[in-house]
Amino acid sequence: MIMDAANLQSQTRRHFFGQCGMGLGSIALASMMDERAMANSLNSFAPKQPHFAPKAKNVIFLFMAGGPSHLDLFDWKPELKRRHGQSIPDSFTKGKRFAFMNSSFKDANKLQGTIRDFKQHGQCGMWVSECFPHIGTVADELTLVRTCKTELFNHAPAKLFMNTGTGLFGRPSMGSWVTYGIGTESRDLPGFMVLQSGPRGPRGGGVNWASGFLPTSFQGVPLRGNGDPILNLASPKGIDGVRQRNSIDAVRALNLKRAMETGDPEIQTRIASYEMAYRMQTSAPELIDIKSESKATLDLYGAQPGKASFANNCLLARRLVERGVRFVQLYHTNWDSHGGPSQTLTKDFDKVTKDVDQPCAALIRDLKARGLLDDTLVIWGGEFGRTPMGEKRETPGRNHHIDAFSMWFAGGGIKPGNLVGETDEFGFGAAKDECHVHDLHATILHQLGLDHERLTFRFQGRDFRLTDVKGKVIKQMLA
C-alpha cells in the first residue's frame, strides 16, 4: 500500500511537469498552487495510508536508559526476598552469559531480594513499588508487560536492539520506520523528535535515533536542551524574520525558474524543504516555550520553565503530539544500578525514580484530559532489566539481565488496567507469555496500522524489517 502511494506520488509529479511548459506562466501557476498541497505532494513526510485502520496516531516512547530494575519497581517477588542470600539454582543460570562475566560479576550467584516495599494499585491490582507512588495512581490506564525479553546484554547493542530490532549499528530506528511508513501530520516540525535528560547521554548516542539505510529525512531530530532547540534553527545575528523571508523568497524564485528549465522535481522538493525550514524557525521556539502553560499543568508535571528536566520533556512530548509529530522519544539516564558509585540501588535509585515518577503519571493524565490518550501510544521501558542475583560492588547492585524485564504501555488502543505475562519465582525468566522485543515491535506497529511483515525496505540485497524475520502481535495487550 505504501508502495502504491509512493508510486502515485511520483506519477503526480511527472504529471505536473509533463503538463507544465517552461515559461513564466507556469512559475506563476506553481506559486498559485496551494502551498500545503504542494508540500504534501512533494514531501516524503506527508501522511501516507497505513496498511489498515490504526488505533494510535502517535507514539511517545519514554526510554529509561541503562536498564531499570524490574525487581525493584514492578515485578514483586516475595520468594526472592525470602531466599535472599541463597544461591540461585544452577538450572536457572546454566549456559547463560552475563556482562562483566570475567570481573565483578564472577561467581555472583546469590539471590538478592528487593529492599523496596510493594503494594497493589487500582482496580487491576497492579503491584508497584514505593519508588513509583504517582505511577501507581494511573495503574488502571496501563498494560504492564513483565515478561519482556531481549537478546543482548551490553548497553549500546541492547539499546539498538530495542530501537532497531538488531544489535548491529546502521539499521533504522523505530521512529524512522514509523515516519517512513505513515509520514507525519506535522507541517511545521519533523515527524520524529528526540529529547534527552539525566546526567549523561544514552550509550550509543545518536545511532539510537538514526535512520540507518532509510533516507536521512526519517532520522530522529534532537530537540536540544540548550542553545537552539533544533540545530541551526536561529538565523544568524542581524537577520530578522523579514530579512530571512526575503532571502528565502529570492532563493525560491531562482529555484522555481531552474525547476521549470530543467524539469527536475527534486528542485520542487528543495523549495518545499526551505519552506518547512522557515516554518520550523517560528514553530520550534513556540513549541519549547512552556511558560504559556497554566500553573496547574506545570505543577502536574513538576515542570519548571527554563530548566532542563525529564518533567519538562514530558510536557514537551505532549505539546509535540498536539502539533502532529508522529514519534517522540524521551531518553532519561541513568538506570544502570550496578551498585558502584552513582549506581546504587538506594540513593541513586531514589533519585532516578523520583525524576520520572510524577512526570510519567502527569503525562498520562494530561493526555487523557485533553482527549489525546486514545490516539497516543505511550511506552515506558529500558533496554533490559536487572539480575535477581546481587552484584557485589561498593554496595549491593544488580547486573544486566535480558531474560525478563518490565515495560508498560498506555493509550493508543492498549488495554487499560492489564497485566501481561508472569515471571518465575525469582523474576529471572518468563513463566508464562514471554514477550520478545520483536513481538513488542510488531505490536507497536500494529497499533499504528502497520503490518510489521509488510513494512520493508530493500538494502544490501534483501528486504529489511524492524522485526527482522520474527515478531508476532501480542493480542493480550490490545483493548
Binding site: 556482562a99 549500546a156 550509543g204
Partner: protein
C-alpha cells in the same frame, strides 16, 4: 525526494520483478548460471543509425538501446555546464574563472579531452575518488560502538588518496588491502593498506566478551569483502545457507578461516618527515656515542656527554601509528558457528571459497594472500564489473546494475548488460587503470549530454535507465562544503595529515555516550577539504551528516541523496557556512572592480560557471539593492551581522549587503547540484 521515493517504488517493482527473475532462473537451469557468476563477455558494439553521434564504444551501446525504443539522445550540455560537471565529478571542486574562460575560448576539437587529462592529473582527483573508497572501507577516526574512542588511522586514508593519484592498478590496490602484510618484502605502505579491514569497530565498553567482538569483526570483514569486491551479500550466509544465492553457510566459514589467522596490532608507520627526524636524531645519538666511547673515562666532559646521551636517547621523535593486519604465528582452528553464534561452534572447517565462484588455484597454500590474489584475479567474474559499475553510478547517478552491492539473484539485472561487460573487460584490458576508465566514461557523448528532462524520455524511460540524458545530482556533503570554500576563495589545498576540525555548532558532541570536545581548527586547517575532517562515528560532523555522508558503521557503496529542511537550516544558518558567505562577499568586493552589475555577474559565475540571464540578474539585484538600502539606513544591523567575522577592512554596510547576496547564491539548488 525523488531518490527516496524512487527507492521505495523500486522495492515495489523489484518484488514483482524478482518473482519473475527467479522463475526465469529456474528455467535457465538454476544454480551457477546466474549471469553475474559467468565471466563477462566482450561483444562488439552494436551498429547504430545516428552514426555521427558516438564518440567512443560506450555510445554505441547506449545509442543502440535508445534507437530500439525510437528515442534520440539529448544534445550536448552547455559548455559551462559540462565544464562544471566534469570538474565536480573528477576532482570535486568547481572550475575557476580562468578555467571557464580558457575552456570557452578553446576551439580545438579535443579541448574537453585536454581538460579531462588535466583533472585526472590533479592531486584533487585522489581526494575526490578516494573518498568513495573510504565509504566502502567504512573509514573513521574513532572506534565506534558505545565509547567511540578516538583512533589514529589517517595514514590509511592518505594511502588511499595516494593510490588513486598514482593510478595504482586496481587489482594491486585490492591485494594490498586484503593482504599487503604478506607480500614478499612488504613495504610500510603495503602494511598501512591492510588498514582496510582494520576499519572495523572496536568495542571498549565494560563487561564485553572480547572474543565475541573479534568474531563480529571477521563477520564484518567477510560481509564487506563480499559487498565491495563482489557485489554479493556473503553476510547473508553467516547464520544459514543463503536464502537466494548459491552460498552455503559452511562456505562463509571457509572464508572466515582466512581472516581468523589475523592479529590486530597498532604499529608505528612513520611519515617521511618523521623518518627524517628520526634518522637525524639517530645520527646525533650515534656521534655522541662515539664521543663518549672514545673519551677518557671519569673526565668531566665524558660525564657531561654521557648524561646528555641518556637524555637524548629518551627524546627519540615519535611516529604516527596505524591499525594493520598481521598474520599470526600460531594458527587458530575455524569452526562453523550454529546460527552464527560464536558460543555454538560446530564442525571444523578449512579455508576455501564459495564453489559457485571461480576456482581457488592453490588449496595447499590457502592463506589470506592467496585469497587476495583470488579476489583480484581476472578470472573473478565480478570484481571488474562491480568496480566499473560504481564508477558509472557516480558519473550518472545510478549504476548499470542499480543494486550496486547486490549482483546476486535478488539484485536488479543490468540495464545494459553488453555495455557492463564491455566496460569490465576494458578495465582489465587497460591493466586495471582507474584513470583510463574515467577518461573513457567522461569523454563519451553519453556523459556529455544535457541533463534537462524531456517529455518523450520521461514517458518511455521515467527512471532514465537508457540514458537518453544526463542526470542532475545533488552534491555529496563533503563536496557541498568544498565547493562553497572554493567559490569563496577560502579553500586550503593542503593535503594529507591528521584529521582537522572545521567549526560546528556547540553541543553536537554531547549526543554520544561521552561529551567530547570539538575545538574548531584555526588558520588553514579550518578551511581544508572535508575528506580531512576528523570522523567520529557516533557524533559525525552535523553539516556532513545532514547531507547523507555515511557514518562508517558498515561499508557504504552508494549514498542516499535526501532533501530535508535540516539541510536548508544548515546552509542558511550554520555559522560555519555563514563564515564562508562572508568570505565570498569579501572576494566579490575585492576580486572584481566595476559596477554592481559586473560584481553580480562575477559572483554568479563563481558559483555556477555560467552567465546569469535577465530574470536571474533581476532577482539578485533586487536583493542587493534592498539590502544596500537597509544596511545604509541601519548600520547597526550590519555591525551585528558581521560581528566576529573577518571584514578585510571593507565598509560594513556594503559587505553585509553582499553577504546577503552571497548567502542567496550559496543556498540556490543549482549551486549544490551538478547538472
Amino acid at each position: 525526494m525523488s531518490n527516496s521515493t524512487r527507492l521505495i517504488a523500486m522495492t515495489f517493482w523489484r518484488t514483482i520483478f524478482c518473482i519473475s527473475a527467479f522463475g526465469a532462473l529456474v528455467l535457465e537451469g538454476g544454480e551457477g548460471e546466474h549471469w553475474a557468476f559467468l565471466k563477462p563477455q566482450r561483444h562488439n558494439p552494436p551498429k547504430v543509425k545516428q552514426a555521427d553521434w558516438p564518440r567512443n564504444a560506450i555510445d554505441y551501446f547506449i545509442l543502440g538501446e535508445l534507437e530500439k525504443k525510437k528515442l534520440a539522445p539529448s544534445p550536448q550540455a552547455e559548455k559551462t555546464t559540462l565544464l562544471r560537471r566534469v570538474h565536480l565529478d573528477l576532482i570535486g571542486l568547481p572550475p575557476s574563472s580562468a578555467e571557464v574562460h580558457a575552456f570557452l575560448a578553446d576551439q580545438r576539437p579535443d579541448a574537453f579531452e585536454r581538460v579531462v587529462d588535466k583533472l585526472l592529473a590533479s592531486p584533487h582527483y585522489g581526494e575526490r575518488w578516494g573518498r568513495f573508497w573510504l565509504d566502502a572501507a567504512r573509514y573513521a577516526d574513532s572506534d565506534g560502538y558505545s565509547h567511540d574512542a578516538p583512533r589514529v588511522m589517517w595514514r590509511y586514508r592518505d594511502w588511499v588518496i595516494a593510490s588513486f593519484n598514482a593510478d595504482q592498478p586496481f587489482d594491486q590496490f585490492v591485494i594490498e588491502q586484503l593482504a599487503g602484510d604478506m607480500l614478499p618484502k612488504a613495504t610500510q605502505a603495503q602494511r598501512i593498506a591492510t588498514g582496510f579491514h582494520r576499519n572495523t569497530q572496536i568495542n571498549t565498553e565494560g563487561g564485553v566478551d572480547k572474543e565475541q567482538f573479534r568474531v563480529d569483526s571477521i563477520f564484518d570483514r567477510i560481509a564487506t569483502t563480499g559487498e565491495v569486491m563482489f557485489g554479493l551479500t556473503f553476510g547473508c550466509a553467516q547464520c544459514h545457507d543463503h536464502k537466494f544465492d548459491p552460498f552455503k553457510q559452511v562456505e562463509f566459514y571457509r572464508m572466515f578461516a582466512f581472516f581468523n589467522q589475523v592479529d590486530e596490532p597498532r604499529v608505528e608507520t612513520p611519515t617521511v618527515a618523521e623518518s627524517k627526524a628520526r634518522a637525524a636524531h639517530d645520527a646525533k645519538v650515534k656521534s655522541l656515542q662515539v664521543k663518549v666511547n672514545g673519551a677518557e673515562k671519569g673526565t668531566d666532559e665524558q660525564k657531561k656527554n654521557q648524561k646528555e646521551l641518556v637524555a637524548m636517547k629518551k627524546k627519540r621523535p615519535g611516529a604516527t601509528t596505524s591499525l594493520v593486519m598481521r598474520q599470526r604465528k600460531s594458527p587458530r582452528k575455524t569452526f562453523r558457528f550454529v546460527k552464527g553464534n560464536f558460543t555454538r561452534p560446530s564442525e571444523e572447517v578449512q579455508p576455501g571459497v564459495p564453489a559457485v565462484l571461480h576456482p581457488f588455484p592453490n588449496q595447499e597454500k590457502a592463506n589470506r594472500l592467496e585469497f587476495a590474489r583470488w579476489v583480484a584475479s581476472p578470472e573473478n567474474p565480478l570484481l571488474a564489473r562491480v568496480t566499473v559499475n560504481r564508477m558509472w553510478q557516480h558519473h550518472f547517478g545510478a549504476g548499470l546494475v542499480e543494486t550496486e552491492n547486490d549482483f546476486g539473484t535478488q539484485g536488479t539485472r543490468p540495464t545494459n548488460h553488453a555495455l557492463l561487460d564491455w566496460l569490465a573487460t576494458e578495465f582489465m584490458r587497460v591493466k586495471w587503470s582507474r584513470k583510463a576508465m574515467h577518461r573513457l566514461i567522461v569523454t563519451s557523448a553519453t556523459y556529455r549530454q544535457s541533463s534537462k528532462r524531456r517529455s518523450d524520455l520521461t514517458q518511455t524511460d521515467p527512471y532514465n535507465q537508457l540514458l537518453g540524458r544526463q542526470t542532475r545530482l545533488r552534491l555529496e556533503g563533503e563536496i557541498i562544503r568544498d565547493n562553497a570554500l572554493a567559490i569563496s576563495g577560502l579553500l586550503s589545498r593542503k593535503m594529507s595529515g591528521p584529521g582537522v576540525f572545521p567549526p560546528q555548532p556547540d553541543g553536537c558532541m554531547n549526543l554520544g555516550q561521552h561529551a567530547r570536545s570539538w575545538k574548531a581548527s584555526t588558520g588553514e586547517n579550518r578551511f581544508r577539504r572535508a575528506v580531512y575532517t576528523f570522523r567520529w562515528r557516533a557524533t559525525p560532523h552535523p553539516a556532513l551528516k545532514v547531507f547523507d555522508t555515511p557514518d562508517a558503521f558498515a561499508a557504504c557503496t552508494r549514498r542516499l541523496r535526501s532533501n530535508t529542511p535540516l539541510q536548508a537550516l544548515t546552509l542558511l544558518n550554520d555559522p560555519a557556512y555563514f563564515e564562508i558567505n562572508v568570505g565570498f562577499a569579501r572576494r566579490i568586493l575585492k576580486g572584481r572592480q566595476g559596477s554592481d552589475a559586473q560584481k553580480l555577474r562575477f559572483a554568479f559565475r563563481l558559483c555556477l560557471a555560467r552567465e546569469p540571464d535577465a530574470a536571474e540578474t533581476k532577482i539578485l539585484s533586487g536583493v542587493l539593492q534592498r539590502e544596500l538600502a537597509a544596511f545604509a539606513k541601519t548600520p547597526a544591523e550590519a555591525e551585528a551581522l558581521l560581528k566576529g567575522y573577518e571584514t578585510g577592512g571593507l565598509p560594513k554596510p556594503g559587505l553585509a549587503a553582499w553577504t546577503m547576496v552571497a548567502r542567496v547564491l550559496m543556498n540556490t539548488d543549482e549551486t549544490i547540484t551538478r547538472e
